[in-house]
C-alpha cells in the first residue's frame, strides 16, 4: 500500500471510529503531509503503518493538549524523539489520542475533552490513561500506537481492550517530548494488535537519546528470534497478585495461561513479592510529588491558556489559570504532591515512599536472582469497569493500578497480552522481566499468543 493510500484509508477509519471519542486531533491535511514525508524516507520496519500518538507526546503538525484545558490549542515547536523515530522508520502519524488529563487516571474519564468509549461496550471504559490509543488499536483503526506509562497506563487499557501493551525498561525509550508527569516513572510504551506490532513499534522508538539524561546508553532494542515453546524457562507466579477478591474471570483466565505455560515446557514456580501491598501507596506519593513540580510550568506566563484573575496581579494569574485550566484529578494530585514534600512532612511521606520503592525493587531483584526468568500475573484485578463506576472514589480508581504500578516503581519491563474473555470482556495476562529483559519477555509473549485463543470465554 502506498503511503498516500494508507493516509486515505486511515482517515476513513478514523472517521468511522469517531463515536469512540478516542482522538483529540487529526486531519486529512496532516495525514497527507505525513504520507509525503514517508515517501521520502527509505523503507523501514514501520513502512505502510499508521501509528496513533497519545496526546502527551509532542508533535509540531498536530496540537498537544494532554487532555487538558490548560494546553488547549497548544502546538509544540518541536517533535518528540519517539515521533521523529516513527517517521524515520517509515511510519506515518495517524492522530493524537485522548487520555486522562496529563495521564492522571485509569479510565480515560478525566479528559477535559470527554471520556473515551470501550470499543466493545460504549458504557464501559477502555482503561487509562492511554485509553484513546488503546481504543483505536482495539477498533482496528491502527495496528499500533504510542501510549505512556507512569503506573500502568498502557498495560491496563491493553488488558481492558484485549490487545498487547508493552512497557519497556525505564530509559529504554527517550522521554524527550513526552510531557512529564512522574519523571522517575514515565515510560513511552506501545500498543499493538499483536505482540509483533507492539514490539516492532517499541523497537523503532527505542535507543539512546542524548537529549534525555535518563535515556540508557544502549543500542535500539532488537526483536528476539522466534521460539517454538517455553522450554527451559522458569516462570514465577507471585502469590500477592492472586488475592482472594480477584475477579473470578481474571483468575480463570490466568489459571488457563499457567496451565498452558507448563504444557509449553516451562517450569512454573510460586514466588513472593512481599512488598507489593506498598506499591500503590508509594506510587501515589512519588507520582504526585513529581507531578506537582512537573506541572508548575503551566502558569499562564509563557504558553498555553492564560486567565488574568480578578485582582490582576501575578498570584491571581496563577490562581485563575491553574484553577480553571486543570481538572479536579490534576488539582488533587498537585495538592497531594505539594503536601507530601512540604516542610515537616517530606520524611514521613516522600521519604517513606522512596524507602518502599527500594523494597519493591529488592523484591523483584530477589525473585529474578533466584533463577526466575519471567513473572506471570494478571494485569488488572478486574475486566473493564463501567463508566462512572469509580469516579466518585479516587482510591478505588487508584487500586486499578495495583498489579501494574510495581513494575513502574522498579523501572523493569512488563507487558500485557489478551488471554481470553469473561462475559465478553477481555482479560489481560502480564509478563514481567528483569531490567532490560524485553527481548526474552517478547519472545515468550509470542509463544503464549500463539497458544491461547484471546476470544475464548474462560469460564
Amino acid at each position: 500500500m502506498s503511503a498516500a493510500t494508507l493516509a486515505a484509508e486511515t482517515a476513513r477509519r478514523l472517521r468511522e471510529a469517531a463515536s469512540l471519542n478516542a482522538t483529540l486531533a487529526w486531519s486529512e491535511e496532516a495525514l497527507e503531509a505525513e504520507a509525503a514525508l514517508a515517501e521520502s524516507v527509505p523503507a523501514g520496519p514501520l513502512s505502510g503503518q499508521a501509528v496513533a500518538i497519545k496526546d502527551n507526546i509532542v508533535t509540531t503538525v498536530l496540537p498537544t493538549t494532554c487532555g487538558s484545558r490548560i494546553l488547549e490549542g497548544y502546538r509544540s515547536p518541536y517533535d518528540a524523539t519517539a515521533v521523529r523515530r516513527i517517521r524515520a522508520a517509515g511510519g506515518i502519524i495517524a492522530a493524537k489520542t485522548n487520555l486522562d488529563e496529563f495521564a492522571m487516571g485509569s479510565s480515560t474519564e478525566n479528559s477535559a475533552y470527554g471520556r473515551v468509549r470501550h470499543p466493545l461496550d460504549p458504557e464501559r471504559v477502555p482503561g487509562g490513561s492511554s485509553g484513546g490509543s488503546a481504543a483505536l488499536v482495539a477498533a482496528g483503526v491502527v495496528r499500533s500506537a504510542l501510549g505512556s506509562e507512569t503506573g500502568g497506563s498502557v498495560r491496563q487499557p491493553a488488558a481492558f481492550c484485549g490487545i498487547t501493551g508493552i512497557k519497556p525498561s525505564y530509559g529504554r525509550v527517550s522521554r524527550f517530548g513526552l510531557v512529564a508527569f512522574g519523571s522517575s516513572l514515565d515510560c513511552i510504551s506501545t500498543f499493538g494488535v499483536t505482540v509483533e506490532a507492539a514490539a516492532t513499534l517499541l523497537a523503532a522508538v527505542s535507543g539512546h537519546d542524548p537529549l534525555d539524561a535518563t535515556s540508557r546508553a544502549v543500542a535500539p532494542l532488537e526483536l528476539p528470534a522466534h521460539r517454538d515453546d517455553l522450554a527451559g524457562l522458569v516462570i514465577g507466579i507471585p502469590e500477592e497478585y492472586f488475592p482472594e477478591d480477584l475477579d473470578a474471570g481474571v483468575r480463570a483466565g490466568c489459571d488457563r495461561v499457567i496451565a498452558r505455560i507448563t504444557e509449553l515446557g516451562a517450569t512454573v514456580r510460586r514466588v513472593s513479592l512481599p512488598n507489593t501491598r506498598y506499591a500503590v501507596p508509594a506510587y501515589y506519593i512519588v507520582n504526585p510529588a513529581e507531578a506537582a513540580a512537573n506541572l508548575a510550568r503551566y502558569d499562564g506566563v509563557r504558553y498555553g491558556v492564560r486567565r488574568i484573575g480578578p485582582e490582576g496581579d501575578v498570584r491571581a494569574l496563577y490562581r485563575a489559570t491553574r484553577g480553571e485550566g486543570f481538572g479536579p484529578e490534576v488539582r488533587r494530585r498537585i495538592l497531594v504532591g505539594t503536601f507530601a514534600l512540604s516542610a515537616g512532612y517530606a520524611d514521613q511521606y516522600y521519604g517513606q515512599a522512596q524507602a518502599a520503592r527500594q523494597r519493591i525493587i529488592a523484591d523483584f531483584a530477589a525473585v529474578f536472582a533466584s533463577g526466575v526468568d519471567l513473572i506471570f500475573s494478571p494485569t488488572t484485578p478486574t475486566p473493564a469497569f463501567r463508566a462512572g463506576e469509580k469516579t466518585a472514589d479516587p482510591v478505588q480508581m487508584y487500586l486499578a493500578d495495583i498489579f501494574t504500578a510495581p513494575a513502574c516503581l522498579a523501572g523493569i519491563p512488563a507487558m500485557s497480552i489478551p488471554v481470553g474473555r469473561s462475559e465478553g470482556l477481555p482479560i489481560g495476562g502480564q509478563l514481567t522481566a528483569p531490567d532490560m529483559g524485553e527481548a526474552s519477555m517478547i519472545a515468550a509473549a509470542r509463544v503464549l499468543e500463539a497458544a491461547i485463543d484471546p476470544a475464548a470465554e474462560v469460564r
Binding site: Y74, A292, A293, V301, R302
Partner: protein, 472 residues
C-alpha cells in the same frame, strides 16, 4: 567594643561557559530579550535538561581554588517556587548533596590583618530569567535569555566581623575565581551577585538573630548596606527591641535598607532530587587531575613576585590584583625587561590606559623594545613615554618612530660641543660663579644645553664636555 558584628556571605557567580547549563543556548549577555532561548530553557512541555560538562568542570575548578572538598557524588534537586521569570516553576539546584563543601582561604582584614574565612559549601544551579518592571508601563516584562545560565553559589561561614571585612573577602574571592578562570565576576553584568547575612551580639555571646540583605550592585555598596543594617540592628537592640528574621533590600540612592519579606512569608521550597538528572558522579582521578591543572592562584603568584623577582609589596599588590595585568607584566618580563623596570612601566603608562579602556593597546613585546631603547641610551625615558603614547594610537616600529619624531638622543661630540659653547658664551655670569666654586650650577648648564638641543642631547654625554669647557 560593645557590639560584635557577624557576617556571612552567599555569592552567586556565573560560570564562564560558552553555553547554558542544561541546553545548547549560548550563555551570552546583552542580547535582545528572549532571543537566546530554546524549548529547554523556556520550560516548554516535554523538554528535558542535559548537564553541561564544562559547567561541572568550572564548578570543580572553583571549588578546588577555594580549598573545598569536591564530592564524588552530588545530586541536583528541584527548588520549587512560582515566579514569572522561573520558566519551569522550579530551579534546578543542589541541596543536601552539593558539589563541594569545607573550603577556606586567607583574607587580609582591614581591622584584624590576615584571617581565615571558611567556605561552607559550593553548589551548582541554573539562573532564572529577568523580570523587567520598567519596560512596559504598568506591566512586568519577562526576559528569559539568562534563564538556565550556570551559576555556582558559594556560601561562607559566619567568619566576617565587619562590613569592611566582608568587602575584603569579596575582593579576595573574586580574585581567586577570576584567576582560576571560573567566572568573569562582573557585578555590573550580573555575573557576580551577593546576598549578605548579618547579626550582632555582645562579644562572647551566642550568635544573634540574623537578617539577609539583598540588591547590592557593587562591593562598595555591600559594605554600605551592611553598615546600614548593622546600625539598624544595634539601634533596635539598644532601644530594647528585638531583631526579627527578615530579608531586606538596599537602596543605593538613599543608603537605607528596607524589609522585603519576613520569615513568615518564606517559601517552602520542597526540595527533592531532580528525576531528570542522574546523580553527578565524578571520578577521583578526574578530580585529582583537575586539581593538578589549576592555574597559579593569587597567593602563590604574590609570593613568587616578592621572592623570585624581589618586587616591593606595593608593586606585588598592584600587579597581582587582576590576572590580566599580571599576565601582561609577566609577558613583558619574558620579553627581556628587568622585573622592577617592567613593574614601573606596567603600574604607570600601561595601567592608566587599561583602567580607562580595559584593553592593552601596546603588546608586551613592543613595550620591551621601547624599554630597550632607554636602556641603550637611544632615547630618554621621557621620549620613551612619548613613543609609548604614540604606539597606543597606532602600532609602529619604535625605532623608526623615534627617528621620525626626532627623539633619538644626540651623542655626536661635535654637535654637543657646539651647543655647550653657545651656552657657555651666553651665560658669562654663571660661568664665573661656577669657576668660583658654585659646583651645583652644573645642573643649570646641562638644562640649558638640553633646551638648546630641543631635548635631543644625551645628558650623560654632555657632562664631560661641559666640565672641560668650564674648567678654570
Amino acid at each position: 567594643m560593645r557590639w560584635e558584628t557577624v557576617v556571612g556571605l552567599e555569592v552567586h557567580v556565573q560560570l564562564a561557559t560558552r553555553t547554558k547549563m542544561f541546553c545548547g543556548c549560548p550563555a551570552t549577555y546583552g542580547e535582545a530579550p528572549n532571543t537566546v532561548v530554546c524549548p529547554v530553557c523556556l520550560g516548554l512541555t516535554g523538554a528535558l535538561p542535559v548537564l553541561n560538562a564544562e559547567a561541572i568542570r568550572l564548578g570543580t575548578v572553583g571549588a578546588l581554588a577555594l580549598g573545598c572538598t569536591v564530592h564524588p557524588v552530588s545530586v541536583f534537586a528541584r527548588k520549587n517556587y512560582f515566579y514569572p521569570d522561573l520558566p519551569k516553576g522550579y530551579q534546578i539546584s543542589q541541596f543536601d548533596k552539593p558539589l563541594a563543601t569545607g573550603g577556606a582561604f586567607e583574607v587580609v582584614s582591614p581591622e584584624r590583618g590576615p584571617i581565615t574565612v571558611s567556605i561552607t559549601r559550593l553548589h551548582l544551579e541554573e539562573d532564572a530569567g529577568k523580570s523587567l518592571h520598567d519596560r512596559i508601563p504598568g506591566h512586568t516584562a519577562v526576559d528569559l535569555n539568562r534563564a538556565g545560565t550556570p551559576l555556582a553559589e558559594i556560601v561562607s561561614g559566619p567568619d566576617l566581623r565587619s562590613p569592611a571585612e566582608a568587602r575584603a573577602y569579596l575582593v579576595t574571592l573574586r580574585q581567586l575565581l577570576v584567576y582560576a578562570g571560573v567566572s568573569e565576576c562582573s557585578m555590573e553584568k550580573g555575573s557576580l551577585r551577593v546576598d549578605a547575612n548579618l547579626s550582632v551580639r555582645r562579644p562572647g555571646e551566642p550568635l544573634g538573630v540574623k537578617t539577609e540583605v539583598k540588591n547590592m550592585n557593587s562591593f562598595a555598596n555591600v559594605e554600605r548596606a551592611l553598615e546600614a543594617e548593622r546600625a539598624r540592628q544595634i539601634g533596635l537592640l539598644e532601644s530594647g527591641e528585638r531583631v526579627t528574621q527578615v530579608t531586606l533590600t538596599f537602596n543605593a540612592a538613599t543608603g537605607e535598607v528596607k524589609p522585603l519579606r519576613s520569615k513568615e512569608d518564606a517559601h517552602d521550597y520542597r526540595y527533592f532530587p531532580d528525576p531528570d538528572l542522574p546523580p553527578l558522579v565524578l571520578e577521583s582521578a578526574w578530580i585529582t587531575s583537575t586539581r593538578a591543572a589549576l592555574p597559579e592562584l593569587p597567593a602563590a603568584r604574590r609570593n613568587r613576585y616578592a621572592t623570585a623577582m624581589g618586587l616591593p609589596d606595593y608593586d606585588v599588590g598592584v600587579l597581582t590584583a587582576e590576572p590580566a595585568v599580571a599576565a601582561y607584566f609577566e609577558a613583558t618580563v619574558a620579553a627581556g625587561v628587568e622585573p622592577k623596570t617592567a613593574a614601573n612601566w606596567v603600574m604607570g603608562e600601561v595601567l592608566s590606559g587599561w583602567n580607562d579602556t580595559g584593553v592593552f593597546a601596546v603588546s608586551p613585546e613592543r613595550l620591551a623594545q621601547v624599554v630597550a631603547m632607554v636602556e641603550s641610551g637611544t632615547v630618554s625615558l621621557q621620549a620613551a613615554k612619548r613613543i609609548y603614547g604614540e604606539l597606543v594610537t597606532a602600532d609602529a616600529d619604535p625605532a623608526a618612530l623615534a627617528t621620525r619624531l626626532g627623539l633619538v638622543q644626540v651623542r655626536d661630540e661635535d654637535a654637543l660641543a657646539g651647543w655647550v659653547d653657545e651656552v657657555v658664551s651666553a651665560h658669562p655670569d654663571e660661568v664665573a660663579r661656577f669657576r668660583a666654586g658654585e659646583a651645583k650650577l652644573i645642573g643649570f648648564f646641562v638644562g640649558q644645553v638640553m633646551k638648546r638641543s630641543g631635548g635631543k642631547a644625551d645628558p650623560k654625554a654632555i657632562q664631560p664636555i661641559l666640565k672641560e669647557r668650564l674648567a678654570p
